[in-house]
């Protein structure tokens, strides 16, 4: 029975939950976004440094959330570093499609390291946990006018 749950809570998830990467305030971020999941009260502050060419140079986060949302944020900060914003956006689209179960022909390879989180698709109530950090990143990349700059 608890084997099933290991699909959701893989060792990598536990590892990132216990020791989240890039869990820090970024003083010189040029985009800061507050992500909030009103359903469960989880909060995340995402810091992004993006250069003029649209390449994400650094991402970090702070906040409190469940293991899924913390691991997702932690993994994301590792994965999107040095990606062009359009690449990050495309990856999120793929992840979102798979996580929300809209894609029957699941191709986990497309997801790379993110594949460890694909297990959420069996837990509709937890999809928002896995996507909170990504929605925050999307906001940081898209709504340039409304994001806070710390310059």
């Amino acid at each position: 029975m608890l084997d099933q749950i290991r699909d959701l809570y893989q060792e990598v998830v536990f590892d990132h939950n216990r020791n989240p990467r890039n869990f820090r305030v970024m003083e010189d971020a040029n985009r800061t976004v507050e992500g909030f999941n009103p359903l469960c009260g989880d909060r995340i502050t995402l810091y992004v440094k993006i250069d003029d060419a649209g390449v994400i140079r650094d991402v970090s986060f702070q906040g409190s959330g469940c293991a899924i949302s913390t691991a997702s944020a932690s993994l994301m900060t590792e994965i999107v570093r040095n990606m062009h914003e359009s690449e990050a956006h495309a990856l999120f689209e793929t992840f979102h499609r798979i996580a929300t179960g809209k894609d029957d022909a699941v191709n986990l390879e497309e997801l790379g390291k993110l594949a460890v989180l694909a297990g959420v698709r069996a837990y509709p109530a937890r999809v928002k946990c896995a996507t909170l950090a990504w929605h925050s990143l999307e906001a940081a990349l898209e709504n340039q006018e409304t994001t806070v700059t710390t310059e």
Partner: protein, 414 residues
């Protein structure tokens, strides 16, 4: 033959569970352990059968037809109102207004009682443990009238600070709105004392009884509350039906909340005469069958007895609390002396959502989140809790399953 008078029947929870068909199922291959009763309670067969019977045999619109079915439906509907009246010990059945639930009942009082009366600088007093539905309607009213919301604080055990309550009760206070029992902490408030003190200053009191109503006998005349609100779905009845009790003299002075059919006596395009109580507040076709089935739910709990139910749940709570406090890293939120059957807790370094998902895999249904009481979470500096809440059909074995489940969660998270 045994001719001795029947002894008071012992509380036979195994027999009671048979009344609830939904409880017999398995979830993830485990027997369902339903511990989310504070969110909503499951329905006994008596309620399910009542719904089917009325739709099959007696259904028509109420108060409108001369035909037989309409009269039958009206009798059942008004009969349900009388059951609610007796259950709350209200003086009159026309003091019982059918609403969609607690939320609508509170909004009705805010808009119909508060809005025409309250002025800038008037104060509305609530407490720090209210559900959002006993906060937001008052905030909306404050925006509309310029009234000010004042909040009675709680202490770390989740008990209301009574001396602060006295200090906050002022000449400007126009209404006290308070939960009889907190859904996030389980605290049972000393509403009788609060009402007495408020009345000494001429302040009317609304009691949010959403959580209290399934756990205890409520006597609105003994409490002397001015309004009492509750939802059918937490009392083992249908969702979509609720009750506002209001004192006749107050309800009479209040304008209708919504306009439409049933709430009028005579309509011309120049002028409309409103109907009498309670119809003045029941515009449109009500949730007829749900109201009737709420009556069946009330009959059901009274068949067991509210004292008996309260006793059983208090024993469950005491047992669960004792077991839970032995778990390393478990913190309990809400340890008031007077408490209903709710166990709100966190585990060290394990988020309530993760607790909820893993327990679900063990067949155990609890709630994880802020329980629509974000100010309570803020007060304790936590984003959420895991909450197990008990009902009349829960067993000691289910408490054991919960405790074993929590140990499993800790094991999985290492």
């Amino acid at each position: 033959m045994n001719t001795a008078p029947a002894a008071v029947p012992a509380f036979d929870v195994a027999r009671i569970r048979k009344d609830f068909p939904i409880l017999g199922q398995q979830v993830h291959g485990k027997p369902l352990v339903y511990l989310d009763n504070a969110a909503t309670a499951q329905k006994p067969k008596a309620v399910l059968d009542c719904i089917a019977k009325v739709y099959t045999e007696d259904y028509a619109n109420v108060h409108r037809g001369v035909h037989t079915l309409s009269q039958r439906a009206t009798e059942l509907f008004e009969g349900a109102r009388e059951k609610v009246q007796r259950h709350l010990n209200a003086r009159h059945s026309h003091e019982i207004v059918f609403t969609r639930g607690t939320t609508e009942a509170i909004n009705l009082v805010a808009q119909s009682y508060g809005r025409p009366r309250f002025k800038a600088g008037d104060e509305i007093l609530i407490t720090a443990m209210e559900h959002h539905s006993n906060i937001v309607p008052w905030q909306m009213l404050c925006e509309q009238t310029g009234a000010v919301l004042k909040v009675v604080p709680i202490d770390r055990t989740g008990t209301l600070e009574l001396d602060r309550f006295e200090a906050l009760l002022s000449n400007r206070t126009r209404l006290l709105a308070v939960a009889h029992m907190s859904n996030a902490l389980g605290t049972i408030n000393p509403v009788e004392t609060l009402i007495e003190q408020a009345h000494r200053r001429g302040v009317p009191v609304l009691v949010d009884g959403a959580q209290a109503i399934p756990h205890m006998a409520v006597d609105v005349q003994a409490l002397d509350c001015d309004f009492y609100a509750f939802s059918g779905h937490k009392l083992y009845g249908p969702a979509g039906i609720g009750i506002l009790y209001g004192k006749e003299e107050l309800l009479n002075k209040m304008p209708p909340y919504q306009g439409g059919g049933d709430m009028i006596r005579r309509v011309t395009f120049e002028k409309t005469e409103y109907n009498t109580l309670p119809y003045k507040f029941e515009a449109g076709t009500p949730s007829i069958v749900d109201a009737i089935a709420l009556g069946a739910a009330i009959d059901y709990v009274n068949g067991i007895g509210m004292e008996t139910i309260a006793g059983h749940e208090q024993r469950l709570l005491a047992y669960a609390t004792e077991q839970a406090l032995r778990i390393p890293g478990l913190e309990l939120f809400g340890q008031a002396a007077e408490k209903g059957a709710i166990l709100s807790f966190t585990l060290h370094r394990i988020h309530p959502h993760d607790i909820g998902t893993i327990l679900d895999h063990l067949g155990i249904a609890i709630r994880a989140g802020h329980h629509c009481a974000m100010p309570v979470m803020d007060f304790f500096g936590i984003p959420a809790t895991a909450r197990a809440s008990f009902g009349l059909y829960n067993t000691f074995e289910e408490v054991d399953a919960l405790i074993a489940g929590i140990h499993k969660v800790i094991e999985v998270f290492g």
